[in-house]
């Protein structure tokens, strides 16, 4: 999504339990102040605390295991993503979502456009899971998504500017505008 940052894989006894990132660029725009992101990890930490080997054995609530809730959906999604997804349909979807995102950006509908970019990203992940995208072509898809992300990020900032950056205090708003 046109993001760049630096940070860490956070390891616990050889297992990556999380990732921590200082974003430098979002949607192709340099961020200031720098934001940070901490990703997944609750389940992995819980698996140490509860001393279970598999995530599905985690206790979710009273007598209910994580697997009771998530195992079947996980299986079905895996079956779909790796074996049953309709590649031609997904390729068409990707192209259609992309087209719609650009159309909405032209209309200044930033948030719906953003939704369609997310759909592109998800569709790409499904195609990738299916092995329908070669290493070489990955770069091409990622660049198409990145282009849209850049555009929508600029549109978002422009939209906020028009509103006078209502959620920023005055000094920050000025520097944001200057950038």
């Amino acid at each position: 999504m046109g993001c760049a940052g630096v940070g860490w894989e956070v390891w616990l006894d050889g297992m990556e339990v999380s990732q921590f990132t200082y974003f430098q660029v979002v949607g192709g725009l340099e961020v200031s102040p720098v934001t940070s992101e901490i990703t997944y990890g609750v389940e992995r930490l819980a698996s140490y605390i509860q001393d279970v080997k598999s995530v599905f054995d985690l206790e979710w609530g009273d007598g209910v295991k994580y697997g009771d809730i998530f195992k079947e959906p996980e299986y079905e999604h895996s079956k779909y993503a790796f074996e049953e997804s309709n590649q031609d349909m997904l390729l068409d979807f990707f192209n259609a979502y992309e087209k719609e995102a650009w159309r909405l950006m032209d209309l200044g509908l930033v948030h719906p456009a953003y939704d369609y970019i997310l759909k592109c990203s998800h569709t790409f992940n499904l195609l990738d899971a299916r092995g329908a995208v070669s290493v070489t072509e990955r770069a091409g898809y990622l660049s198409r998504i990145r282009k849209m992300a850049h555009k929508v990020a600029r549109a978002f900032v422009a939209e906020r500017k028009k509103l006078g950056f209502p959620l920023l205090d005055h000094a920050d708003a000025e520097t944001t505008e200057a950038k």
Binding site: V6, V34, E137
Partner: protein, 685 residues
């Protein structure tokens, strides 16, 4: 005196620690030298969280020094009556002195005002704050900003210790004020105030931080060796892994873990990738060299709760190996033919078809290369077989999980499937060289497969105008072209790349594999792209710039021919007569580049002896065969007297058009052999 500088950071990437520490020490030494502040020694300390220098035997102050400062010329400083001018008074005042201190000295025949000044050296405490600029000048492979600041560094700075003996030398970076407080181990230690610079190593040892990288490395080595000898294992202490692990810990404790012996059925390369590359473990072998179901890890901490740590690490490795075993067994349920069939559903690039399309093109390209390189029948068959299957592992589960094993798994599975040795080797070598200076394929078939694959990638991307520009090279086409250039350089066989492109395009078109793309329209751009890589190779071999420019100025890039031309010219340029030869040969080149002419030379039109002599000499060059050998260049330079005599006795631009054209044809015939070596007019005389 002793001075301690410590920069406290959020954890740096392991590979950055050692080079950054060296850089800090070098730049600090240069700074002190520049400031004329003497010191005996700089000790270097670093962990992932800190870069530190302890400077021993630091002078308390700069040496006092005398300076002779030059002011205005005497005639400006004093009028005829000996009165001091404003210029002279201003000059002395600016130095905090008076006109009474002025002396005159002569410089190049003119008398000038001079002041002899004794300058007291500044104290160390006054100079050391300047190190803040040294810190800010450090360069890193990646940099980041944090909070609201624009300043960039490898990671956020959290504290700075700056102690001259027992006194804080103030400095500030962003919101961080230097002081005497440092941080202990993240989990085992606390913050600690240092009384003196000299306390540094000891105080941090007390906080479970070993700041000396050499000491840490020695401890890790000893611990691993102890574990190995207890278990009667052999452990390969991989240098790079040891360096990395050393820079991931502040207080190392090595431990051994194990995994179920059933996973030893997985290919060794997969086990090693899992342990070494993914988990940063050292693997172990028994005394017979067989891999054992165990590993050695290094923890950033002490021996407490070690059972827990070992169990955690075993769990993670087991999960990885379980995946690997699953994929390994699953992958063998299908044949190479099955995998190859799936490649038609995997896109190489949306403008360039599927991986199956790519392999078909590569087969075509490989058959042309096989002929060029005079591969024997068996080799040609092996190359065709390899080119027909080489991407199959990309759709196996193992490569899906361990992408870094692409090629390696192709070779492994091909061997299991009974492919012959040459095919197996070629599959394993297809991606080589994997970095600019990485190893090249060792086998002939592997070389040609790697070359054919890269040629296809380059020609195909260029055909759809996806040409790298500036830093934008997402498909690493420069590296691939450089790989081809290096392989051709090693092979030492001439191969004019423009001609080759023409031949390949013709074959691709005949085979119906261009899919409507015009492979011809960027042929020039690709030629130039190759010439740039050839230049890069020569420059990295320290060939002088003029020679590089000369030999790469050929119409058809030919790696071996150009390298050989560069060697010939470099050697020839050392001889005294070179200048004379160069003048004669470039005279021919200059006149013909302005006056191209083709056709036979008619001896009937000769008007003097020198024409006949040159004619016979040029006739004899017909067996050059396009080779830029030293012998051929010597035959050209041997013509110098004949060329000189020719120009002395012959008026090229004769009034009679027939005579003039005849002479230009002769010179053009000669020039075609000279320009084999490139554009000699670019060589410095």
């Amino acid at each position: 005196m002793q001075y301690l500088l410590e920069i406290g950071l959020e954890d740096m990437p392991a590979h950055v620690v050692t080079p950054s520490l060296r850089q800090l020490a070098d730049k600090t030494a240069a700074f002190l030298k520049d400031q004329q502040l003497d010191f005996d020694d700089i000790k270097k300390y670093a962990t992932p969280r800190r870069l530190a220098l302890l400077i021993d035997g630091l002078a308390a102050k700069q040496a006092d020094r005398a300076e002779d400062l030059r002011g205005p010329a005497k005639k400006i400083a004093q009028d005829a009556d000996g009165n001091w001018s404003k210029a002279a008074i201003g000059f002395t005042r600016g130095q905090g002195m008076s006109v009474d201190d002025i002396e005159f000295k002569e410089v190049k025949g003119t008398e000038y005002v001079f002041l002899h000044k004794e300058v007291a050296g500044k104290g160390a405490a006054e100079i050391l704050p300047g190190l803040v600029d040294v810190i800010k000048s450090l360069t890193f492979p990646t940099r980041m900003k944090w909070a609201q600041y624009d300043f960039e560094f490898i990671r956020p700075i959290h504290w700075i210790v700056s102690l001259l003996d027992d006194q804080v030398v103030p400095m500030q970076i962003l919101d961080v004020q230097a002081g005497r407080e440092t941080q202990g181990h993240r989990f085992l230690g606390h913050a600690v105030e240092l009384q003196t610079a000299n306390d540094y190593v000891k105080a941090l040892r007390g906080q479970q931080v070993l700041v000396d990288p050499a000491e840490r490395k020695a401890i890790i080595t000893d611990q691993i060796n102890a574990i190995a000898s207890q278990n009667n294992w052999q452990v390969d202490l991989d240098k790079d892994l040891l360096e990395e692990v050393n820079n991931l810990v502040e207080f190392p404790t090595a431990f051994a873990g194990s995994f179920d012996a059933k996973y030893l059925d997985i290919p060794e390369i997969v086990l090693i990738t899992s342990m070494k590359d993914n988990q940063r473990y050292f693997y172990a072998r028994d005394q017979n060299g067989r891999m054992v179901n165990a590993f050695i890890g290094v923890r950033n901490g002490n021996g407490e709760h070690m059972d827990n740590v070992i169990a955690g690490n075993e769990k993670v490795l087991t999960a990885r190996l379980e995946d690997a075993a699953f994929f390994y067994n699953e992958d063998q349920q299908h044949s190479i033919t099955d995998y190859v069939a799936r490649l038609s559903n995997v896109s190489f690039h949306d403008k360039l078809g599927s991986l199956a399309d790519k392999m078909a093109r590569v087969q075509t390209i490989a058959s042309v290369l096989a002929k060029h390189f005079a591969l024997d029948t068996q080799g040609t068959e092996d190359l065709q077989r390899a080119a027909g299957i080489y991407k199959f592992d990309l759709v196996t589960g193992m490569v899906g999980e361990f992408a870094e094993l692409q090629g390696t798994m192709a070779a492994h599975y091909a061997q299991l499937a009974g492919e012959n040795e040459a095919v197996v080797a070629a599959l394993g070598e297809q991606y080589m060289p994997i970095s600019a200076e990485g190893a090249l394929p060792a086998s002939e078939v592997g070389t040609l497969l790697a070359m054919a694959d890269k040629l296809d990638t380059l020609m195909s991307f260029f055909s759809v105008d996806m040409i790298p520009s500036g830093s934008n090279d997402p498909y690493a086409l420069r590296r691939q072209a450089y790989g081809i250039v290096r392989m051709l350089a090693t092979h030492k066989q001439t191969l004019p790349l423009r001609q080759l492109q023409g031949e390949l395009i013709k074959q691709l078109e005949e085979a119906g594999q261009t899919n409507g793309r015009d492979y011809r329209h960027n042929v020039d751009a690709l030629d130039e792209f190759f010439q740039d890589r050839i230049k890069q190779l020569m420059q990295s071999n320290h060939v002088s710039h003029d020679v590089v420019d000369a030999v790469t100025a050929t119409a058809d890039p030919d790696v071996s021919a150009e390298i050989s031309a560069a060697e010939v010219l470099t050697r020839a340029a050392k001889a005294d007569e070179f200048k004379e030869h160069l003048e004669a040969l470039t005279r021919v080149v200059r006149i013909t580049s302005k006056n191209p002419a083709t056709g036979d030379v008619d001896p009937q039109l000769f008007e003097n002896d020198s024409e006949q002599q040159l004619h016979s000499a040029v006739e004899q060059l017909a067996d050059f065969d396009g080779r830029t050998t030293a012998a051929n260049f010597e035959r050209l330079t041997a013509l110098t007297p004949i060329i000189n005599a020719y120009f002395d006795e012959t008026m090229i631009m004769a009034d009679d058009e027939r005579v003039r054209d005849n002479r230009l044809r002769e010179l053009n015939r000669l020039a075609q052999w000279i320009t084999l070596f490139g554009d000699l007019t670019r060589v410095r005389k």
